[in-house]
């Protein structure tokens, strides 16, 4: 058996979002295989590297590192432990024992943008990002394209919560930003902001507007006002890393997961099925197919740092 481990980023494994997705993945892995996964939640920069190093020392492999913040620590430790397999989610490191897993968030965001536009009565929708970084702009840009695809003259109000890591964990500000967007006419808001999103969904609930979750399927958080979630299958990524390692198929290098690979998607479940009409569902399936077969090309913000599509 393998001896897998995971290191969450500083938001912690219960952020209801990104880290929690990974957590769900490994719980499933443990349930399916009976193999325990060693978890670690460092609380500061120094501990990230310290914990990675200690896990490596103790022979844990593969070690999944969650989040772009881990990149520099993983790259340092991976150098010192060439025999240990590292998988980093959302970061790219070019080293022989590191697997980099990234997602085509723009495609998933496009999808939920389409759904948002279909549900907006005011033709104004909102986007609340977490930390202002290219990755989050990538979400925003994909979303905007999706909205405009349905309603070309729609307004997309975009706000970022902040410019530091704290922006992923500030529900108060999330709620204020959402309220300010509602007051400007938005009636659907997409939060790509980690824990900050909780405040956004709450505000939507309180004001009777619709919200779109991110990363994990967050539809259950505010049933009735959660239109859908843009799921980014980090759970599947983590699961797959362990599964491959178990089977001896783990390979270093870049892995890009998009719609076609099932890496991103929109969520439809019991919590939001009341909000989704059959028409909408059909349209969503059609758009999805077009993206997969290349008829719709969604621009990736990170490819040129602009949102010109």
């Amino acid at each position: 058996d393998i001896k897998p481990a995971v290191v969450y980023d500083q938001a912690g494994k219960f952020d209801k979002s990104f880290n929690e997705g990974v957590y769900n993945g490994i719980t499933r892995f443990t349930k399916d295989t009976g193999i325990q996964v060693r978890e670690s939640e460092p609380k500061n920069e120094a501990q990230v590297e310290q914990n990675l190093r200690r896990l490596a020392q103790r022979g844990y492999t593969p070690i999944v590192a969650v989040g772009f913040n881990m990149a520099s620590a993983v790259s340092k430790v991976a150098k010192d432990f060439p025999d240990i397999q590292f998988s980093i989610i959302d970061g790219v490191i070019d080293q022989p024992n590191v697997q980099s897993i990234v997602f085509k968030e723009h495609q998933g965001s496009f999808l939920v943008g389409v759904l948002a536009a279909m549900n907006s009565k005011t033709d104004t929708v909102g986007f609340v990002g977490g930390m202002d970084i290219p990755l989050i702009r990538k979400f925003g840009c994909g979303y905007e394209q999706g909205v405009k695809y349905v309603t070309p003259n729609a307004t997309v109000i975009q706000n970022m919560t902040g410019s530091t890591g704290a922006a992923f964990n500030d529900p108060t500000k999330g709620s204020e930003l959402a309220k300010s967007q509602f007051s400007k006419g938005a009636d659907v808001v997409f939060a790509a902001a980690g824990g900050t999103g909780i405040g956004v969904y709450q505000a939507a609930k309180d004001e009777g507007k619709l919200a779109i979750g991110v990363d994990s399927n967050q539809n259950h958080i505010q049933p009735g006002t959660m239109l859908t979630s843009m799921v980014k299958r980090v759970d599947r990524a983590a699961y797959k890393a362990f599964e491959d390692a178990q089977a001896g198929d783990w390979e270093p290098g870049l892995e890009v997961l998009g719609l076609s690979e099932g890496g991103v998607d929109w969520a439809l479940d019991d919590y939001n099925k009341g909000l989704i009409t059959a028409d909408m569902k059909a349209k969503m399936e059609a758009v999805k197919a077009s993206i997969v077969n290349g008829d719709i090309k969604v621009h990736d913000y990170m490819s040129d740092s602009t949102c010109n599509y």
Partner: protein, 365 residues
């Protein structure tokens, strides 16, 4: 009249010891409250902190920061000033170190960069302490409040600079480019390994030696120079200081500059010694922990070193503990730290009156 005196060992030994024991006892209760065996937890703590080479290295690495901030808080205390701004001064000090490294790393060797960066960290830290010091000295603004405000201002300033100016292109999070190795302060394990000594891989670096030097400087300065004499006079009796022709304002400003400089040296350890790039939040509460260190170290360099090592051990041991028992968070160390501040700082008189009374009566009898 009898000249009853409380024995020195009571004041510097017994009473502090009792206070700390009480803090640890209450910490033990916290462990019990969360269903952990305090002794087992203590076992992990001690093993993590002192049980193996790298553990000791980490302990001393944390202690390095705490010595700097402890000295910073303490020397200001000596002048009767409460510098709560260590956090901000350390932050800005780190900025100074980082800027110098970013500027010089490709053109200069370590032997030139290191002293310059040390001076840079000290100067930036001192500069950040200067404004509250000036306002205290010349306009009577309460330094506790102004230094708290300056912590917030430093934090916003750093975010602004990192995000808008210093961030490396293409990086997600606001961190600068990594310095070239000419701007890395050598790790102690790298220093020792040519001597055939293996002390384990840890972030412990030459800044630790700098911290010890800082203690010597503190000691000489405070107790053996006229400046120190003036400083202590201002701290214990400002009116007498004025009577003695000492310029209180000048002393206040100077001591805060030195205090800020000590705090700024945290940047040398963190930025030049460990991270090798500029980043956010590397001060991680060391400025506040410095208060506990200074209090527990009784404002004496030896005490500060011991207290810093104790706290460093708690940090490192706490990380080990949280690593081994995932249901414990390293934040428990913050609780212990707070309890130490409470019992050996705020409640220092709890036993003092009774114990001193006992010894006085015994002496009088």
């Amino acid at each position: 009249m009898s000249q009853a005196k409380v024995p020195v060992w009571v004041n510097v030994g017994l009473i502090p010891l009792l206070n700390i024991l009480l803090a640890f006892f209450v910490s033990g209760l916290v462990f019990l409250a969360i269903g952990q065996n305090p002794l087992e937890a203590a076992g992990y703590l001690v093993y993590g902190a002192f049980g193996y080479d790298a553990g000791i290295g980490y302990t001393l690495y944390y202690a390095t920061n705490l010595i700097f901030t402890g000295l910073a808080v303490s020397i200001a205390f000596k002048a009767g000033l409460f510098n709560i701004g260590g956090e901000g001064q350390a932050y800005i000090g780190g900025l100074g170190v980082g800027l110098l490294c970013l500027w010089l790393d490709s053109s200069m060797p370590l032997i030139i960069i290191a002293p310059l960066a040390i001076i840079g960290g000290a100067v930036f830290g001192a500069a950040w302490a200067y404004i509250p010091a000036y306002l205290q000295a010349r306009r009577g603004s309460h330094i506790v409040i102004t230094t708290i405000m300056f912590n917030f201002i430093a934090s916003s300033l750093m975010v602004y600079l990192m995000v808008n100016w210093l961030k490396e292109k293409g990086m997600m999070s606001p961190i600068s480019r990594t310095f070239q190795e000419s701007a890395w302060l050598p790790y102690l394990h790298d220093v020792f390994s040519p001597l055939g000594l293996d002390i384990g891989n840890s972030p412990l670096n030459l800044a630790f030696i700098l911290a010890l030097l800082g203690c010597v400087v503190y000691w000489g300065l405070v107790w053996h120079t006229r400046w120190g004499y003036q400083l202590r006079t201002v701290g214990t009796n400002p009116t007498a200081a004025r009577y003695a022709g000492i310029d209180n304002a000048k002393v206040t400003i100077w001591v805060m500059l030195i205090s800020g400089a000590f705090a700024g040296l945290v940047g040398v350890n963190e930025i030049m010694g460990v991270n090798h790039n500029l980043l956010l939040n590397f001060t991680a509460g060391y400025g506040f922990a410095g208060i506990a260190v200074a209090l527990m170290g009784r404002n004496h360099p030896i005490g500060i070193i011991l207290a810093a090592i104790l706290f460093g051990a708690l940090y490192q041991g706490g990380a080990e503990l949280a690593f081994e028992i995932p249901s414990i968070t390293p934040e428990i160390v913050v609780v212990i730290q707070g309890l130490v501040i409470l019992f050996s700082g705020a409640l220092e008189n709890m036993f003092k009156g009774k114990i001193e009374g006992y010894f006085l009566r015994r002496a009088a009898a």
